[in-house]
Amino acid sequence: MTATLLLIQTLNGLQFGLILFLIAAGLTLVFGVMDFINLAHGVQYMIGAYLIAAFSAWTGSFGWGLVLALPTALAFGLLLEVLIFRHLYERDHLDQVLATFGVILFLNQGVKFVWGAAPLSVPVPEILSGSVEIADGLLYPVYRLAIIAAGLLVAALLYVLVNYTRVGMLVRAGATNPQMVSALGVNIKRLFMIVFGFGAMLAGFAGAMVAPILSVQPGMGDNILILAFVVIVIGGIGSIRGAFLAALLIGLVDTIGRSFAPNLLRLVLDPSAASQTGRAIAPMLIYIFMAAVLFFRPSGLFPVKR
Amino acid sequence: MAEPLLELRSLRKAYGALAVTDDVSLSIRPGELHAIIGPNGAGKTTLIHQISGMLPSDSGQILFDGENVTHLSMPQRVRRGLARSFQITSILPGFSALENVALAVQARHGSSFRFFGNAAQEQALNEPAMQHLNTVGLGGRASIPAGLLSHGEKRQLELAIALATEPKLLLLDEPLAGTGHEESLRVVETLRRLKGRITIVLIEHDMDAVFSLADRVSVVVYGRVIATDTPESVRANEDVRTAYLGEEETV
């Protein structure tokens, strides 16, 4: 029983970690290349979820909805970049925090204005509905497996993009030494836009993928944004590899911690105290984990050399 | 011969495969003005960073006043009497010239964990600060915000701040860089007055200043010390001529 629970929770943790990675990837690149702290990255995720809800309802198909939602999420990210963010690159972190916090306030209420405060639901696409047997008598939803597959695919794609393309090379160089990249005569403004738009689209994609299993509601991007920050801080800002590993770690620690902390504590405490303390500690685990990592490595596990 | 005040033993700092300073050994005698010269990129500023504690060294030892300070932080070294100025002016632009120096006096004297009393009014801090400003010739500009001083005046202020920490040894990283003729004369004059009272390690490109001030000169090329001698001998040294002075002349 515990073994199957562990297997399920590991898969859930993997899935959660990959979603986190999709969000953290854009965040860490934007931060690494532009030294820009973007709190509004979480609302890109929310926008992605709302877009898939709107488009899949309109077209009647999740697939077509995704096809329409992704470019729209990209366009929306670029719009924000041109209107607001690009005026903030030269500012200090405090200004960036405040202005992007303003974007969050606006968009969290904005989606209420457009779609109302009630949560929207998105049906799981027909071909991915149902469950498969992954072990003896153990059923797991196909759609969640699809999220894992899509996440891994995007991670692989990102790996190739960052390591084997010209833009990827510039992004890596930019994260290490932005002055040098602009000294090479690269149009840094355009590079920023590409990175930004791409990051926004990835977050939007993450939002779209989880829309069928979560409820789509205002503010849904806020908490996951903070987790994404935890991920990039642990991984080392600007490091895609760090973000990937940290995202998986966080996903697993959080998911497994929540279901096993009370059980583990039962070894040392009486049952009622164990479940009480376990429930209190579980949501704090990742923050404790982060504090521990930073205590020993103040620039994360994979600091980008500067 | 007296014990050296500062002794460097085989200091090394490398970035990847590039050794910026390599096997640098030097002895600075108490009271001398020791100039370090060398072409741009020779590793002089890196060496100052290593001595002052801003950069950790990869290997080697730094002995100051008979104590191994290799692993001490910059503030700890300052408290032992090792002060520095910066090549790129580093002051508190929003503070007045006087306050810049008074802070250094405060660092040296008494507790800074005092939460009451107006620090700007403390004569015990302001009087010594004023003396140091006078020493560098900035007395008349005491109340001007440091950010509004001219470039040369900022260089002088740097010197006053360093003096206010009451150092046994002063590391000066190109104090004449970017100053006008008048200002540079004034700084040279100040250094001449300090000479003998404080031990000074001076990095400078202005050869007239170096050869008129220095007791001894070390030449650093590609991160290595190729010669240490009196100014006259260094000027006559063949290696130095080809490696450095000659280069300058042909440019």
Binding site: I237, Y287, P298 | V78, L103, Q121, N126, A129, G140
Partner: protein
């Protein structure tokens, strides 16, 4: 020794002695307000709004102490509000209802939390610091949501406002208002003393140029940590007051949005003047109070449905206001006042 220029003696610094008129007006206005409130006919409403303004002013000012004078962007300051509030709530639920015990406990808890988290956070710099303070506050937030005996997610109601040496006079709104004002003025004077002291000068120096401060022998970490602890304690005090005013505590006291709002207040008022933060808090809360009506009035040309939805989602207007302030109104309200007074 001959000098090139004549030897000067230290001039008497002109700044610092000049008494700023704005904080005096500000506190006088707070002191006079109850008189006007009783004349307005809606005294309960006015008093409670202004008490709230002062409490948030206290919290924002504590943040200004490290943000405006130390350039430490703490994005988790609401955690201290939570600590103060929960100290009051938890003690009260165990029958300890006297402020003379509650407040020292709250201050000690805030100091301890600041010391522990600050020691870790201050090892990092820049954006890492922002995120770590945020994460620690989140940690505390989740801890509060899981405190089953103390209301968990829903929070809990206080049986009564704190007693003072056994006396229950804080139940009276005027008395509570006066107590809050005293706390605010006391904390203001303390903070003012700190920023002009030797300690404060080192803190300000670290803000301007940390490397320079190290080069004259200061270790910025110790000063930043001490300032962080003091700031956390003042915010903890604000938390005690907040719990007492609402007679209710909940994890919502320390959401990260609340931390963001505190930064907003400080910047809105103007960084690094202390009273600017109080003015910023006042502007923020009054805006929050009256924005729905203002939006309703301003949107008269729209159809009823859109107009209703706009008023319903009035917070939408906060975002653009914030962005515009950041982009165009540097220095906040104090900046505008300063520019105004210089012609």
């Amino acid at each position: 020794m001959t000098e090139l220029t004549g030897t000067q003696t230290a001039p008497a610094p002109s700044s610092g002695m000049r008494i700023d008129i704005i904080p005096i007006i500000l506190f006088a206005a707070f002191a006079a307000a109850p008189l006007l409130a009783s004349a307005s006919g809606a005294e309960g409403y006015v008093l409670s709004l202004l008490t709230r303004v002062m409490i948030f002013g206290l919290a924002a000012m504590s943040l200004d102490l490290i943000l405006g004078y130390g350039a430490l962007v703490s994005f988790g300051h609401a955690a201290f509000l939570g600590i103060g509030a929960y100290a009051v709530g938890i003690l009260a639920s165990h029958g300890v209802e006297d402020a003379l015990i509650q407040i020292p406990v709250a201050l000690a808890a805030s100091a301890l939390f600041a010391l522990a988290t600050g020691a870790i956070s201050l090892r990092t710099k820049g954006v890492y610091f922002i995120m770590i303070t945020l994460a620690f506050a989140q940690m505390l937030f989740f801890l509060a949501t899981s405190l089953g005996p103390y209301g968990g997610d829903d929070g809990m109601t206080l049986p009564t406002r704190s007693l003072v040496a056994g006396a229950g006079f804080l139940e009276n709104d005027y008395a509570f208002y006066a107590a809050t004002l005293l706390c605010l003025i006391g904390a203001y004077l303390l903070s003012r003393a700190i920023v002009t002291s030797r300690f404060g000068r080192v803190l300000r120096g670290t803000k301007e140029n940390a490397v320079r401060m190290e080069a004259i022998g200061f270790q910025p970490f110790r000063f930043q940590l001490a300032a962080y602890v003091v700031s956390g304690m003042i915010a903890g005090l604000a938390g005690c007051l907040m719990a007492n005013q609402a007679e209710f505590i909940s994890p919502a006291f320390m959401t990260w949005q609340r931390s963001g709002e505190l930064i907003f207040m400080v910047v809105l008022g103007g960084l690094g003047s202390l009273h600017g933060a109080i003015i910023g808090a006042a502007a923020f809360l009054l805006l929050e109070e009256f924005l729905p009506e203002m939006l309703h009035a301003a949107s008269f040309f729209l159809n009823d449905d859109v107009r209703w939805r706009l008023t319903e989602n009035w917070q939408m207007a906060f975002g653009p206001i914030l962005i515009l302030i950041v982009l165009f109104a540097r220095g906040g309200i104090m900046g505008v006042l300063r520019r105004g007074s210089h012609g």
